[in-house]
Each structure stands twice: as C-alpha cells, then as structure tokens.
C-alpha cells in the first residue's frame, strides 16, 4: 500500500470514529491505533491481575465468614475482569502468553497503586472505597470507547464492579461505627491510601503524553486532572459521612470553582513506584511470575491430555 493510500484509509478511519462508529477486530486500523490499544488494554488487564494480590493477602484472614465470602467474590471478579480484558486485547493479534511475557519481564506496566502493601483489614475497605472508586471514574467512560471488544468488556466490568466499591465502603462504615481501635484503623488506612489513589488517576495533564490522541480515539473522555478533581469532589463528602479526615491540610472547598482545592501531590513518589521501586513492586512480580512458572507443568499436562483424547477419538472413528 502506498503512503497516500494509507493516508486516505486513515482519514476514513478517523472519520468513522468521529461519527461514533465502533471499530471491530478485522477492520483496517492504523498500526498506531492497534499498538496504543494493546498497550492500554493490556495495562488495564495486568492491573486487574496484579490487583488480586494485595486483597488476596487478606482472604485467609478476613474477620467474618460474610466478609470472607465477599472478598473472595471480589478478588475472583478481578480475575474475571483481567480475563475479559486479555480476551479483548487478543482480538488485536497478540496472545495472552505474549502479554504475560511483557508483564513478567517488566516491559508492560500496571497500575502502580497495587505496589503498596495491605497491612490491616481496613485496607480492604480503603481499597474498595478509594481505589475502586477511582477506577470506576476511569472506567465508566470506556464503555463507550471506539474499539468494540474493549467497550464490550468494559460494559461487563462496570456492571460487575458496582458491588466492589459498596463492599469497601461498608467495611469502612462498620469500622467507623465500631470501637476506637477500629476507627483508628480506618483513619490509618485512609491516610495511607489517599495520595496513591489520587496518583492512580495519572500524571498531570502537562506531563501526560498520550492524552490528545487518546481523546480522539475515545480511550479517554476527560483529562487526568479533570478525573482527579471529580474523584476528590465525590469522595470528600463520603469521608465526612464516615467521620474520617482526609490527610491533606490544604484541602478546602472553593466557592468559585465549586470544587475542592487540594494540596501538592508528591510526584517523585509516583515516578519512583512506576519505575519499579515502590514498596511491593518486587513482591507483586515474584508472585505473578511464580504462579505462572509453577503452573507450567499443569498447563502442559492439560494440553497433552487433550491431544491424547483427540487422538483416541480419531482412532475410534477409523
């Protein structure tokens, strides 16, 4: 194909997206579109899978049977969401194994918030309330993104996700209405998870490299800073309701903007974690790689058995 032909195809393609048409797997697409989508969808999938670990850390220690079941179901959903997203990504011509390989070698990124440790039960509440809250803000607009398989996966994810945040908030509520020790546990969790949750919505617009292109392809509907503001504005009243204090002395309602002003985010910390030097980066990767390697003989066995069965069937048919 000549450069000119590609250019005209690209124009047609962009026009389709501008008309809100969906792009489907076998449609022609610019290489950059494919690559960007593989990057974003897989990053999203990896975040779900790595995100199972900090919460999985508390399944065996959940304080009641009801909480244990809810937490198990939630972590299981995250596996499901990872699976939907990997499947969507695979329609772009890359296998799940290749995607895992990228994760395991550190080539692919995942949400840096999962590199923080879960040190008390209250962290299960804080993660559901704050981390899932921030994730939902990010995800809901994606139900309408331009790539069909991604949009469909997100519809399913968002539908299932709705119980996650409520589950987390309920845990916090119970702690805040409980003993002084429990309330302190809740405040401590908020103190530790607040800033990482704000960072989770991505670098500031000035620093964000992908925003403009992503807006055009409907991979993004609002900028990182807009999403962050939305998150803060919706979360502060919830903290009030819980009787907890947001750990930001500069947080203040601004009548003019109709939003909360907030303090400086420590972006050095953000980049340190993104670059692999957070408190649990190594542990998370060790767990993922370990599970994958320890499972190799199981996956091989299943394939070998399937082939044996197939051959037996063929022999019987002859």
């Amino acid at each position: 194909m000549s450069d000119e032909q590609v250019k005209s195809l690209e124009e047609i393609f962009e026009a389709r997206i501008a008309r809100d048409e969906k792009i489907e797997p076998k449609d022609w697409m610019p290489e950059k579109y494919r690559k960007t989508h593989i990057r974003q969808i897989s990053q999203h999938a990896h975040s779900e899978i790595v995100g199972m670990l900090p919460e999985g850390n508390w399944i065996s220690r959940a304080p009641s049977l009801r909480r244990k079941a809810a937490l198990l179901a939630k972590v299981q959903d995250e596996a499901g969401h990872g699976l939907y997203l990997y499947s969507a990504c695979e329609t772009l011509g890359i296998s799940r194994d290749e995607l895992y390989e990228q994760l395991h070698t550190g080539k692919a990124k995942y949400s840096s918030i999962f590199n923080y440790p879960t040190v008390t039960w209250a962290d299960m509440g804080a993660i559901g309330w704050l981390v899932d809250g921030a994730a939902i803000i990010n995800q809901v607009p994606l139900c309408n993104t331009s790539y069909g398989p991604y949009a469909r996966a997100m519809v399913r994810v968002c539908k299932e996700e709705s119980f996650h945040q409520r589950q987390g908030f309920e845990i916090m509520l119970k702690l805040c209405n409980g003993s002084p020790e429990q309330k302190e546990m809740a405040q401590d969790a908020l103190n530790r998870w607040w800033w990482p949750s704000l960072m989770m919505l991505g670098p500031t617009d000035a620093e964000s490299v992908h925003t403009e292109q992503s807006m055009k392809w409907k991979l993004k509907r609002k900028t990182n800073d807009e999403l962050r503001q939305q998150f803060i504005d919706q979360t502060v009243p919830q903290a009030d309701l819980l009787g907890l204090t947001i750990p930001d002395p500069n947080l203040k309602w601004n009548d003019e903007t109709g939003s909360y002003d907030f303090g400086e985010i420590d972006w050095d910390e953000f980049w340190q974690v993104v670059k692999g030097h957070g408190p649990c980066n190594k542990e998370r990767m060790d767990a993922r790689v370990g599970a994958w390697e320890k499972g190799a003989w199981v996956r091989d066995a299943a394939m070998a058995h399937a082939k044996k069965k197939e051959n037996k069937k063929l022999k019987e048919a002859v």
Binding site: E24, K26, D27, W28, Q76, G80, L83, Y84, S87, E90, S95, R96, D97, E101, R152, A153, R156, E160, A296, R299, D300, A302, M303, A304, H305, A306, K309, E310
Partner: protein, 95 residues
C-alpha cells in the same frame, strides 16, 4: 517458557429458555470439557445462563470487512423487502 498454550474458545450463553445463545466472550482452555467448565465459572457466576456453547475460535470463519461493500451494500436498496414499501389505504387495518 512453555509454548504449549491453551487455545482460545468463544463462549455463547443462552440467558433463559426462549432466547437465543449470544456471544458472551472468550477464554482459554485445553479441551472442550474444560472450556465448558471454565465458561460456566467465568461467564455464568451471576446466574446469567441456562445453556452454554463453546467453540474453538480457530474454527470460526469470519467474513472479511474489506468485502463489506459487495457483501452487504447490495441489500441496502432492496426496500421492497420491507413492509413500509407498500402503500395501503388507511382503512385497511392490521396488515
């Protein structure tokens, strides 16, 4: 690393009797039995189905979007296939 990867399967679920099976998504499995079991655990854990089909993705033949013009556009102007093409007097009801 092992190259013995489980193939991809497409999952179709009937949400309740009377409805058709609908494409729900895909998953990996070593064989058809495992694909069915995995589909049950992945796609019907919120009571979404009463029947599941699985088919290995590589067994699906799909039309090529590049042929969409010749495949689908000729049907666009065959308006006489639709009831609204025919003009009837208002007195004729229920037809």
């Amino acid at each position: 690393m092992s190259n013995n990867n489980w193939p991809l399967w497409e999952v179709f679920v009937r949400s309740k009797n009377g409805l058709e099976h609908r494409h729900f998504g895909s998953l990996h499995a070593a064989d058809a039995d495992m694909a069915l079991e995995n589909a049950r655990d992945v796609y019907t854990r919120r009571n979404e189905g009463v029947s599941i089909w699985v088919v290995e993705s590589s067994n699906i033949t799909a039309s090529n979007p590049e042929h969409n013009g010749e495949l689908f556009e000729p049907a666009q102007d065959k308006v006489y296939r639709h009831p609204t093409f025919y003009n009837l007097p208002d007195e004729v009801k229920h037809m």
